[in-house]
Symmetry: C2
Subunit: 214 residues, 2 copies
């Protein structure tokens, strides 16, 4: 983990980046807390296009912040999300990060259920997803499984950060997430997204949680 000196240097670069993004973005309609999320996604991708594609279900951002502040687990579809999250930010509220697909039993479950490892792993951990923050950066099948669990089995995570990237089923899975009004979510419509985008959203929520304690 970084020591304070280097974290401070990194934060100075981050602050300067945010000033540039604020300036180039100009006027926009995002409320301040949403803008913190959008800005960090732009920072992570170098791509202002995300400002047009990101969607927040009302109250979802607040629900995610509150859950993280209470120490909720983060269930991610990729190890990239897990290692991309900064240890010091995770340390503020002690949020565990779980990647069910990386666990040994996921392989057998996927073969048995004839689905992807990620989707089978999320299905097997469905009860634990209740009240958690779910982050999907890569696997549309995992996001579709979360949507199915919500629709058919009444699953209610605190927040779904659903941002899989790609050309086959990614867009469809995010549209379906957005149409599933019972699911609190932050998503990016269209093809763009990815594990780095999921990490950026989660970092923004952790920063918000730290700055506005309950």
């Amino acid at each position: 983990m970084d020591r304070p000196g280097l974290v401070a240097a990194g934060q100075a670069v981050e602050a300067e980046s945010f000033r540039i993004i604020d300036r180039e973005m100009g006027a926009h309609a995002f409320p301040p807390e949403q803008w913190e999320v959008v800005r960090r996604v732009i920072h992570t991708t170098g791509d202002f296009d995300y400002a047009d594609r990101i969607r927040f279900r009302p109250e979802s951002l607040a629900a995610g912040v509150q859950a993280l502040r209470a120490g909720a687990s983060i269930f991610a579809d990729t190890r990239m999300i897990q290692v991309g999250l900064s240890p010091w930010r995770l340390g503020w509220f002690g949020n565990p990060v779980v990647v069910p697909a990386a666990e040994p039993e996921a392989q057998a479950a996927a073969e048995q259920q004839a689905t992807t490892r990620t989707a089978a792993a999320f299905r097997n951990r469905a009860r634990e997803l209740e009240g958690s923050v779910v982050a999907v950066g890569n696997a549309p099948t995992a996001l579709l499984e979360v949507v199915r669990l919500a629709r058919e089995e009444n699953l209610r995570p605190a927040l779904v950060v659903g941002v899989p990237v790609g050309f086959v089923n990614a867009e469809e899975s995010k549209t379906l997430l957005w149409e599933t009004e019972s699911l609190p979510c932050i998503t990016v419509l269209g093809r763009k997204g990815g594990s780095t985008v999921a990490v950026a959203v989660l970092h923004a929520l952790l920063e918000l949680a730290r700055r506005h304690p309950a």
Copy 2:
């Protein structure tokens, strides 16, 4: 690691994605092997803009493929790159993946040298970078250090995949890389890039290495 059945299912999705990208891209001037790299970057980002921004130094792609085929180490600036690389592809030629910044001694080196952990870690491992494939997805300081080592200390990696993302020094570091003609490189000019982009480039090179054995 995935078993063959699930790898095959994933590859079917990948093949369909590639067909969509080929169709939407239409005519272009990339030679076939370069196009395999560009297409995989588009696949990973959902963003055709990369086709305009990617740059290949002549012979660099072939040099990277040859080095990987010979088992060269991959030196990465982030753990996200390390875990994003598929174990089965790394297994084809037994390429080790090293993240110098993640090693315990990197912290002290950074403080001593008053630079970032990543840059200090690359500097300390400079001899091992010789002949390796260097991948930078996040830290402009790391890329600038590789450029400095090449210019001042005659370092010659087999290939530098230099694609840091961001608003402060990322663009400048990639422009400098591109102008350093002694460095074999693949880069993405401008602000865009990131660890997922670096992984996509490396995956494409590993696929090329496997399909065209020496």
